[in-house]
Amino acid sequence: MGDALAALFWREVKIARRTGGAASIGIVFFLVLATIFPFAVGPDLNLLARLGPAILWIAVLLSTLLGLDRLFQADHEDGSLDLMLTSATPLELIVLVKCAGHWLTTALPLVIVAPLFGLALAQDAAALARLTLSLLVGTPALTLIGAVGAAVTVSLRRGGLLMAVLVLPLAIPVLIFGVSAAGIGATDPVPFAAPLAILGALSLAAIAGAPFAAAAALRYAGE
């Protein structure tokens, strides 16, 4: 079973890199979102510095959703999902490994470039470090919550929008604790550790629960 899961993981990574798509387009979309906000907010550096963490978190959230609707849809359309169901590997583990591959190829690059974009939003070094750490801890939850939405909408032709409508409300807790871990402490004496710990708990809960929900939805779609 370990071999099967390793093969699945590397297949996901290869496909994401080959189609020249998911990872690089996500970063470009992130850049566009992060640069649009200052145009709307205006050149007030203090305001930008206060809004920065929230802007970057929302940008990461939307960039993560981009391409997530294809997470299972491609496998559903080309019959891979049917074949995976005939393997001895549980579908829940297959979902988890696909999410890990997706996180590595789309979410992790966003976490890595976030400090660069943060500079453009007048974030100082301490704020950049907190932002990056909060994104690193919080993005697994975003990917896995999104995977549930992707699984529910797997058989719909234009499921992407519906998926966003389903997933965004569920991502609100992650957003709240992510932004508070990343930023509010800069003006407020809220401790950094508490929101970060809750963010970590959200990610762990999503890792534990989301694969079961997504696998159930995928089995239903296969019928």
Partner: protein, 200 residues
């Protein structure tokens, strides 16, 4: 290995596609499922593969060993091959070898050579023809040893030489005591072949 299907009923979208269908297959036997479009040929194969729930009846596999669940010992070859266009033929096959469990079967390069695709092993599927892609999908039958082959229109898009090759592999599989259920409009020249005609 013995496959017994008794009184199964399968519904799709609230409509009974199969109702009260029974048959039994012993080792080395093939079942050719025929019928007009929409008669339930693909539904039957998907139900046998465990991809569709049964509304009634049961599908039982009895074997020399304690048989694992039916879906883990079948090769399901549907209308689509489960191949990724951006991966090469060899990468696609190696992946399915890892997922489906190899057993005592051929390695991916040998399986590709068996379908005369050795020259295309390192090409992405996107540049192969429909028939070549289908052959990559068929090569999957050879990389994992599974006793029950469920073939949905296996001859689609194949040229004459490939059809003959596939028939040879099916005969060899039957000769080793395997089971084959094939839904087809084309005539398959197989020993021990039984016919099942589905109607609307």
């Amino acid at each position: 290995m013995h496959l017994e299907v008794s009184e199964i009923r399968v519904e799709r979208g609230g409509r009974r596609v199969l109702d009260g269908l029974s048959f039994a297959l012993a080792a080395g036997e093939a079942l050719i499922v025929t019928g007009p479009n929409g008669a339930g040929k693909s539904t039957l194969l998907r139900a046998l593969a465990g991809l569709l729930p049964l509304a009634a009846g049961r599908i039982a596999v009895t074997g020399p060993k304690d048989a694992p669940p039916c879906r883990e010992i079948v090769h399901y070859l549907g209308h689509v091959d489960g191949s990724k266009a951006s991966l090469t033929a060899a990468e696609n096959l190696s992946f399915w070898a890892a997922i489906l469990g190899r057993g005592s079967a051929l390695r991916p390069p040998e399986a590709l050579a068996s379908f005369a695709l050795a020259h295309a092993a390192d090409l992405p599927l996107a540049v192969l023809s429909a028939g070549q892609r289908r052959r990559v999908g068929l090569a999957r039958l050879l990389i994992a040893a599974r006793p029950i082959w469920l073939l949905d229109e296996p001859m689609t898009a194949l040229d004459t030489a490939s059809r003959a090759r596939l028939l040879d592999f099916i005969r060899a599989h039957l000769g080793q005591g395997g089971l084959v259920v094939a839904a087809t409009h084309a005539a398959l020249d197989l020993p021990n072949a039984r016919q099942l005609a589905l109607r609307h």
